[in-house]
Structure formats: C-alpha cells, structure tokens
C-alpha cells in the first residue's frame, strides 16, 4: 500500500460520507455532511501538491527537497473560509429551528414536536416519547 492510496481512499470515504449525510432530511446531519466534505476537500487540495514526508516548506538553502507550499496555502485559506461558512450554517440552522419549530429540510411537512403548539404537559410527554438517546448510552 502506498501513502497515495491511503490518502485517496480516505478522501473518497470522507466524500462518500459527506455526500450521504448532506442528503439527509434534517439540518444536523446536513451540517455533519458539510463538515465531512470540507475535511475531504482540505485533504484533497493538500494532496494535489503531491505527498512528501519530512520536507516541510520552510525555506533553507540546503533543503534537498521540499513539498509544494502553494496547495498548503490554499488549504489554509479554504479551511478558514469553510470554518466561517460552517459556523454560519450551524447558527442559521439553529436559528431557523427556533423560528419555525422544525429542522426538516426535505421540503415535507414536519410532524412537528413543537413546544409552541398545544398543551405543555402533552408536549413534554410527546417529546419524551420521541426523544432518542443522543449519547448512545443504554438507559438504566
């Protein structure tokens, strides 16, 4: 196995997961998907400068070899930009959920579990019935 193979497959896997997640119907997985995609793309942009081990782009006269610095600069810029964008998406999806009571983005009406409609007790009961364990722990 070569490094190139590892990186290429890693990029492929990240892209796959990113695409799959971003095609889900709610904002959170979409945000996850977007995050995965930006990992993939950062690695990808980095990889197009070809891979080198132990040859960081710090100039010295006697450096026998160095890695292509330009893609790294591009990735840095891309990381920063995608960070800003992700932050915005996260906040936007939260904000939208707060405003509308739903985080569905598949264009279908949401069987909303919204505190703003109906009786509060009933809402709590419904919510608890629907809630899932976000920690992945089995409840005692």
């Amino acid at each position: 196995m070569s490094m190139e193979f590892l990186i290429a497959t890693a990029i492929g896997a990240l892209t796959w997961a990113g695409i799959y997640l971003s095609l889900r119907g709610r904002t959170f997985p979409v945000v996850l998907g977007v995050t995965m995609l930006s990992y993939a793309i950062n690695l990808f942009l980095f990889a197009i400068g070809r891979l080198k081990v132990g040859a960081p782009p710090i100039f010295s006269e006697d450096a026998a070899t160095y890695t292509d610095p330009l893609p790294q600069a591009l990735v840095l810029t891309a990381i920063v930009i995608s960070f800003g964008m992700s932050a915005l998406v996260v906040v936007l999806s939260l904000r939208t959920f707060l405003e509308t009571g739903t985080d569905q983005v598949d264009g279908e009406p949401d069987p909303a579990i919204d505190p703003l409609d109906g009786d509060r007790e009933e809402w709590i009961a419904r919510r608890n019935a629907h809630r899932i364990d976000m920690l992945g722990e089995t409840r005692p």
Partner: protein, 136 residues
C-alpha cells in the same frame, strides 16, 4: 558519552512508548469508568513525559540545537490532565449516580461529604438552585 546518552534517549523513548501503550491498555481493559480513568491520566502522562524528555535530550545531541519546547508541552499537560480527569469524573458521577443510585455498577456507593447539608458540587450547589434541572 554520546552512546550512553543515546542509550538513555532510547530508553526514554521506549519507556514513553510503553507507558502510552499501558495507559491505553488500561483504558481498554479496566472494568468501569472510574478505574479506567486512572490508566490514561497517569501512564499516558509519563508516556508522553518520557518521550518529551527523550526529545529534549536528543536534539542537543544530534542537531547542535537545544530544545526546551518540550517543557512547555509538559506544563500544558500537567495543567490540563487533572482538569480533564476531574471533569470526566464529574460527568460520570453526574450521569451514573445522580445522587447515589447506580445499582448495576461495579462501583461502590458514592459517599456523601460529612458536613451538614452539604453535597458534592456536582449534585448540589451551595449558592442557588437551578430551576430547570431538566427532569421533565
């Protein structure tokens, strides 16, 4: 001299690696979170510590430059590791004991602090009650 130092460095490196592994092994095999917590926060600390020491010794030996950076990393680790452990433990007891009720756990029951009307901070704050503790 150099060989001796090299040997020392090599020893430290292997020691560090070994402790890193032991810590993680402990994490993987110990029976409950509180016991698992002891593995990494200690063995790993020395594991990294050994490697850092090795690194400090190695660079002056081989690159004619001395290196003190490692001290800073150590400082950060020593500052942060106990807090991490503390917070993980708090999270754990909060979720597991929520005031002493964890029958299925291997842990013994959590003792209450001796004082009158006191409790561990995770379970009760002295200053104000949270109206929204989230128990629906």
């Amino acid at each position: 001299m150099t060989t001796l130092l090299d040997a020392l460095v090599a020893f430290l490196i292997v020691l560090g690696g070994a402790f890193a592994l032991i810590g993680s092994w402990g994490l993987a095999r110990l029976p409950s979170l509180m016991t698992r917590l002891h593995g990494p926060t200690k063995a790993t600390t020395l594991g990294v510590g050994g490697i850092l020491l090795a690194s400090m010794a190695w660079f002056p030996l081989h690159s004619q430059e001395w290196s003190s950076h490692e001290l800073l990393i150590t400082l950060f680790l020593f500052l942060s590791a106990p807090i991490s452990a503390n917070m993980i433990a708090k999270a754990y007891i909060h979720r597991r004991f929520r005031r002493c009720s964890a029958p299925e756990d291997v842990e013994t029951e959590l003792p209450a602090p001796p004082g009158e009307g006191t409790d561990w901070a995770t379970f009760g704050s002295s200053k104000f009650d949270d109206t929204r503790t989230g128990r629906p």
